[in-house]
């Protein structure tokens, strides 16, 4: 009965609800503009306030001062700070992120090469985080205080407290030393050296095989967190009256758990998805180094070390954008999974 009523109510409000949604999205997008500008401005100021400049990377007497000066001029570092800032904002608004000092390439190209790889890794990690996290959390809640729950709690807490890079290195060592007999997985890179020679399916399988270990390293600790969260939510939900009613109706336990309990317990858990996007981006910074994954994490890591201003600014902008989008997705998911929440 309750379900039918909800469907009717949705159907009746569909038009105005969509309008409200669009208005809401527009408002959030407008709010994001000054926020993002503020983020990159702050990073611009912090980068330039720190002593030294990118030429410090080439600290070598083989490089005479006049060459260093030429490099500074080419980078525009000879200009006053406000000119550099205005130039950068102007170029940025026209879609020109500038040249990477260290990679000798347009920043746009650097990001275009690296971002899809990070998104791929992030996407598969999200699947692991929520797929494994939700399944294990629900399982533990159903078996509360059982032996499986106790052991899984121990394992989840262990994984949750492990640094990603350590977990990654342990995976590499375990796989490469043959701890699991017969298990052969690539331990670094995104493709094998024969990738270009493979057929379309072979290429997909090649990338998938390379994804396994970094995905586990990036996703498992967060999956453990989601599992803890899901377990708590499930324990709350399965004590609710409607679950008891479902059981009283004689529904099979499987249906009760999967359809009635889990779906409701997932409401707050799924809304975490948006918040995990920036966490994944940050985590990728370390995991990509460990697994030689050619993504944004490494680009940003190298850029920061080398004070590659254009690269760091553009990466920071993307990072900020991801946080903003993540928050927005999170808010939208709340409303999607819980009809009591309105956009206005």
């Amino acid at each position: 009965m309750a379900r039918a009523g909800r469907t009717r109510a949705r159907g009746g409000r569909l038009g105005p609800r969509r309008l409200t949604l669009l208005r809401y999205l527009g408002r959030r997008a407008l709010q994001a503009v000054p926020l993002l500008l503020g983020i990159v401005t702050l990073i611009f100021v912090i980068l330039h306030l720190a002593p030294g400049d990118p030429t410090a990377v080439w600290f070598n007497p083989n490089l005479p001062p006049e060459v260093m000066e030429r490099m500074r001029v080419n980078m525009g570092l000879d200009q006053p700070l406000y000119i550099q800032y205005l130039r950068w904002v102007k170029a940025f608004l026209s879609g020109d992120f500038g040249y990477s000092y260290t990679q000798f390439r347009p920043v746009r190209d650097v990001i275009a090469d690296a971002l899809p790889n990070t998104l791929l890794l992030g996407g598969t990690s999200l699947l692991v985080i929520f797929g494994v996290g939700i399944a294990l959390g629900a399982f533990q809640a159903v078996r509360q205080y059982g032996r499986a729950d106790t052991w899984l709690t121990f394992v989840m807490l262990f994984l949750y407290s492990m640094p990603g890079f350590w977990l990654g290195l342990m995976l590499v060592l375990a796989v490469s030393s043959g701890v699991v007999p017969g298990l052969r997985l690539p331990i670094s890179g995104m493709t094998s050296v024969d990738h270009a020679l493979l057929g379309p399916l072979g290429k997909v399988a090649d990338v998938a095989a390379h994804l396994v270990l970094p995905t586990i390293a990036l996703g498992l600790a967060s999956a453990a967190g989601v599992a803890r969260y899901m377990r708590g939510e499930m324990l709350e939900v399965i004590r609710q009256d409607y679950v008891r009613t479902a059981r009283a109706k004689g529904l099979p336990e499987r249906t009760v758990i999967l359809r009635h309990a889990m779906r409701n317990a997932m409401i707050p858990v799924v809304s975490l998805l948006g918040l995990y996007l920036p966490i994944l981006f940050g985590g990728a910074l370390v995991i990509e180094v460990v697994f030689s994954w050619p993504g944004m994490g490494r680009v940003m890591y190298d850029g920061i070390l080398a004070r590659d201003y254009p690269l760091v600014l553009a990466s920071s902008f993307l990072f900020g954008l991801l946080v903003v989008v993540g928050n927005l997705v999170s808010d939208l998911l709340y409303a999607v999974v819980d009809p009591r929440i309105r956009y206005d």
């Binding site: 030294g52 410090a56 001062p65 650097v110 050296v193 030689s292």
Partner: protein, 588 residues
């Protein structure tokens, strides 16, 4: 301090002085006129000693490996791992050693190639002659060398490369290479003539700078050359390997050039060469063990000992043109006195530092001219580690611990030094050893880690806000160290120490113009002597680059020129050619 011909000198150089003298004489005409014959293909076996004592890392005994006739060595894909990405294949934009090595030995063949003792060998130029007055040098180019797009390599390419290298709009990192080259004239398609001034290692710049294809880059404005896609996504070379593909942050792929002239080595044995960036050392070691990587360039010294225990792997090393040192700011009153600085050096256990940081792959640095340098004086040795002598020297200099707090004072001021370094783990370890060593002789050292971009302005700025700092850098065969020591360059960023001597300036000036290697070595001896006497730097260690490879990869021989110097002769044993099978097969 000089020492006799002890065992280390024998190992380090193993060269008789008369043999050296003979080579000195032989090297001069080699500069004056190149020879036509290309070097023969190198065979497996112990590396021959080089005449100048630049130690080479030959392969370990491989007699037990199966002998394979030369015609059956072709095929396979060799995978090489390195810590850093190759940033550019543009010869005038390169600043990192990995990229430079790949340019000089894979993608390009320079105008003149560098021999084992930094002597010039024919490259794109089959010969060259110097006018009797010594002010003009004429190169005759090969007629069988082509760019990888099929165009011939011509005299215009040589002139174009030089013109761009000396163009102020191009931030070429080594302008000293061509500072004696004044004008160019293209005489015909294969002949180019330069007007030059006297210069030591005159041809060295051409050995270390690959040629640019004029027909592809002529219309690129000089200020845009550095960022032109030629260097990063579409390089066209003239060397033994052709560019195939780059996956940024992951790998570069090259394939054998079947048209590479036999006189320069001919088609390489391997079909494909893949360079993979693996930033994490533990992962690189695991990939090597797993057989996914054939050679690990610049392997982690700490991992080398464990890798050497693996019978499927071989670990070798070769001297790198790099040293680590502590620079003392002699503008500070406490560090002004040379005897104090000598005492500090003698109190620091540099052997322990070399051992801790480089394991078996480092030696105490003797001075500013390393053992890898062709003009290194092999009888030279570092100051000994002698804490008692250090204490006595400090006492004589008036620094005594009158109040018994463990720190020496003079005129009421304690002997306290702040040691700056970047936050690398190696530097932290070194700083801890220095701190402990100097505390033993009554010197209070506090170490402070700063990011490089923050440290550099402190040590290079006009006010030199530091007492001492710790750093390592790589050097060049062309010994132009005037920026580091000259009295008229006290304001130069690299004149950190503020120490200078007019007589050293004269030596350093002479080093720029002397062509005779015997004189060069004598001048280097004087240079080292003056720096050793004054100790503006405490030289810590010289590094050896470690190569770890699978034994199925053969023909690898490295020396101070780099790890890839014989890459055309590398070959994979037939059982190790599983990768890239579909692309393999003899290309010639």
């Amino acid at each position: 301090m000089r020492r006799g011909r002890d065992e280390r000198v024998q190992r380090g150089a193993g060269v008789r002085r008369d043999a050296v003298a003979a080579m000195l004489l032989a090297a001069i005409p080699a500069v004056l006129a190149g020879c036509d014959a290309g070097p023969p293909r190198e065979a497996d076996g112990p590396a021959p000693p080089t005449a100048w004592g630049r130690r080479a890392a030959g392969p370990p005994p491989e007699a037990e490996r199966p002998a394979v006739p030369e015609e059956r060595r072709y095929g396979g894909t060799v995978v090489v791992a390195g810590r850093n990405d190759l940033l550019t294949m543009n010869p005038l934009a390169v600043t990192d050693r990995e990229s430079l090595e790949h340019q000089l030995h894979l993608l390009f063949v320079p105008l003149v190639r560098e021999g084992p003792d930094a002597e010039p060998l024919p490259g794109a130029a089959e010969s060259w002659t110097v006018d009797p007055e010594g002010d003009r040098i004429t190169f005759r180019l090969r007629d069988d060398l082509r760019w990888h797009d099929g165009e011939p390599v011509t005299a215009r390419d040589v002139a174009f490369t030089w013109e761009r290298a000396v163009d102020p709009a191009v931030p070429f990192a080594n302008p000293a290479y061509f500072d004696a080259w004044e004008a160019v004239e293209v005489l015909d398609e294969r002949t180019v003539r330069f007007t030059v001034r006297p210069r030591s290692h005159l041809l060295y710049g051409w050995m270390r700078t690959a040629l640019l294809p004029e027909h592809l880059l002529d219309d690129v404005p000089p200020e845009e050359l550095e960022t032109h896609p030629f260097g990063t996504t579409a390089p066209v070379g003239n060397g033994p390997f052709r560019f195939v593909e780059r996956v940024p942050g992951d790998r570069w792929t090259f394939e054998a050039n079947p048209d590479f002239p036999d006189a320069l080595g001919g088609r390489p044995f391997v079909d494909r060469y893949v360079y993979r960036q693996i930033p994490e050392d533990a992962v690189a070691a695991a990939e090597l063990r797993a057989g996914e990587v054939d050679l690990w360039l610049d392997a982690d010294p700490a991992a080398a000992a464990r890798l050497a225990e693996d019978t499927t792997l071989a670990v070798t090393s070769f001297p790198a043109p790099e040293y680590a040192f502590i620079a003392w700011n002699t503008r500070r009153p406490a560090l002004r006195d040379a005897s104090v600085r000598r005492a500090l050096t003698m109190a620091i256990d540099r052997a322990a530092i070399a051992r801790v940081v480089r394991g078996a792959y480092g030696e105490i640095a003797a001075g500013p001219v390393g053992r890898w340098h062709p003009a290194f004086d092999t009888t030279w040795a570092a100051l000994p580690f002698a804490p008692d002598s250090a204490r006595a020297r400090l006492d004589r200099a008036g620094w005594t611990d009158a109040d018994g707090d463990g720190v020496r004072e003079k005129d009421g001021r304690p002997l306290a030094i702040e040691l700056l370094h970047t936050p690398r783990e190696d530097w932290r370890n070194i700083a801890a050893i220095v701190q402990a060593n100097l505390a033993d002789v009554g010197v209070d050292v506090r170490s402070r880690a700063l990011e490089q971009a923050s440290l550099v302005p402190l040590v290079t700025g006009a006010d030199r806000r530091f007492d001492a700092f710790l750093v390592a850098w790589s050097r060049d065969v062309m010994l132009d160290d005037r920026d580091m020591w000259a009295c008229d360059r006290l304001g130069s960023p690299f004149q950190f120490t503020g120490w200078c001597r007019p007589e050293l300036d004269a030596v350093l000036d002479s080093l720029q113009v002397v062509e005779d290697r015997k004189t060069l070595r004598r001048l280097v001896g004087r240079y080292e002597g003056m720096v050793e006497e004054a100790q503006p730097y405490t030289f810590l260690y010289e590094t050896e680059t470690v190569l770890a490879r699978r034994r199925t990869l053969r023909g690898v021989r490295a020396d101070a020129r780099g790890a890839l110097v014989t890459v055309g002769d590398w070959w994979l044993e037939p059982g190790a050619r599983g990768r890239g099978v579909a692309a393999s097969g003899r290309g010639d």
